[in-house]
Symmetry: none
Subunit: 182 residues, 4 copies
DNA sequence: GATGAATGAGGATTCATTCAT
DNA sequence: GATGAATGAATCCTCATTCAT
């Protein structure tokens, strides 16, 4: 049993090694990366990689899910003292997550396989961002016609800035948010 | 002579057909598209495709150059009556060009081959956008600390909106530009 | 008519230009040379090349035939004063021809198409070399058991020396011929 | 460990099968042979072929190296009882090796990749042939002015005979060697 | 007759995935 | 469970040859 457990531990560790290598590799080379290269960087055989992720697509989805998990965790701890600060904090946390997660940032999606992952993403947006926007409206710190969708698109827009000029997004965020303010 | 010209005309037409098919195909499938598929969609043989564009890279660059040419043309006729309107018009013209040119929008670039094309792009930005920003400052319709780079990044940012929600960019542009206003 | 004649002259000239370019090109790159490259070096269009030589093979055969013609001409004027000198002169003339004709030297032959050309070659060997060998035997300057075939193979052998060390064949010829002497 | 070794054994066998098929194929069709055809004749998939020899060039070089190895092995056991016999034996062993190794015989070489292989070849010539020539001189069985280079060129020359008339080289060797004798 | 654009079969190589060990 | 050798479909590109002008 001890052996079995040890093996399971090793297996889990391998799965993780592959996941990290894949995140790295997809971030650098996009979908074009060679599965062998990922296996190599993970320090495992190609067979091991395929045992854990039977398909390139599934591996990508796994990376995506890990990214999204990191994001939901990061954005669940926004400081809520001030309504405007809370909103800004949420957007900033999202963008800073994207800055570290190229796969998510690049929107690497593949066919319908990634759809569920992104659906979970929208779900989280609705449950966490909506209250913040509502409160901002209540507190009168947001233009009345600005919706949650607008803020979502703001994030989407600034994600490109993150991609192109990784240090410039904070300034652009503040410039743009000025336009959203009441 | 007339004969020779006629042939060239046909050849030129084929080159154009290939270019259009490629723009379409790259826009849909990214760099992964099969050269044969492009040839098929252009209605020419694969050999003809390669006669005009000896490499996949070169074909992509040609598409990029056509996109950029379309953009420079479109942005050279901005209404200059009002400084703010002129600036907005420039950004809007750029974004609407991107909306029709997926290759450019997706920033499909390949190694160093695309670099010159994009360099021309930056060049054009500097010569056309700079005066508009300068005039906006002179006329006092732009926050004093907003630079040409900021406007460039605004375009970059909104290009993502174009990509994700092709009809929403105009509203986002006006929202954001409010923040840039003096 | 003058025009017609002029055109025929031009056509003949083109055929010759192609032949020379082909001889050069095959000599350098073997059969792998691109037909377009030959046309380019001949200064004619690819269509013109194909008008004169409908096939790569046929072009090669034409080059071969020109080579063989040069050889038969060169070897028909051997000095016949002394039987041994005549024999040596014949072999030397052959080898020096080979030294200038890479296509022939490399034995570039292709399928059955080249066979007739080489048959003519053997034919010429029999009609010109045989008498020389016979006379050498009569004059007692050649070992009695040395046949025409032996001399033929001597040529074949030394042709490789010509190929590998273009200046060394004469010495090797004299060394070897010593063994053939009575 | 036993497991790993077994796999390597199979892999090694495949590598060898490919090598032999390639030697055969290059010998018949020169460099023009289709890699797929080689794989087919070896009874392996094209991917397996490429796993062992990542390039057509490298496969050719491998064939060349095997040929050269066979030659060095064959020529290291020459009978040294009599100086003249030893020399003849060396040349004969070389030629009979060539008779079985078309790739080497045809001098199939490709760019600079084959250069090292052939360099090793010249090296071996110098270390094994030189002493034989020296001893022949000492024993007075070789014309004083005949050098190692002459013998080398004799081999080169007769290799063409091997190519053209595979059964005639021995007679030609003896004829020619007579000229080299003291 | 000359030209060169068009054609497409053919050939080298890569890479996702399977499977024997 | 891990490994990596084997597989072959897919893809880029070349080049002999044809044909419209």
């Amino acid at each position: 049993m001890a052996t079995a457990r040890r093996q399971r531990k090793d297996a889990a560790r391998n799965a993780l090694l592959v996941l990290e290598a894949a995140a790295q590799a997809f971030g650098v080379g996009g979908l074009a990366v060679d599965m062998r290269e990922i296996a190599r960087q993970a320090g495992v055989g190609i067979g091991t990689l395929y045992r854990h992720y039977p398909t390139k697509e599934e591996l990508l989805v796994a990376v995506l899910q890990a990214d999204i998990a990191a994001w939901t965790e990061r954005t669940s701890t926004v400081d809520t003292a001030d309504a405007y600060a809370a909103l800004r904090s949420y957007v900033a946390a999202t963008l800073s997550t994207l800055a570290e997660r190229r796969t998510l940032l690049d929107g690497l999606a593949v066919g319908d396989v990634a759809a569920p992952a992104f659906a979970a993403c929208g779900e989280h947006l609705r449950t966490t961002l909506a209250p913040l926007v509502a409160r901002a409206h209540t507190d009168g710190v947001l233009r009345a016609d600005v919706t949650m969708e607008d803020v979502g698109l703001l994030i989407v827009a600034l994600s490109r800035v993150v991609q192109v000029a990784p240090t410039a997004w904070e300034r652009q965020l503040d410039l743009a948010l000025t336009g959203y303010r009441a």
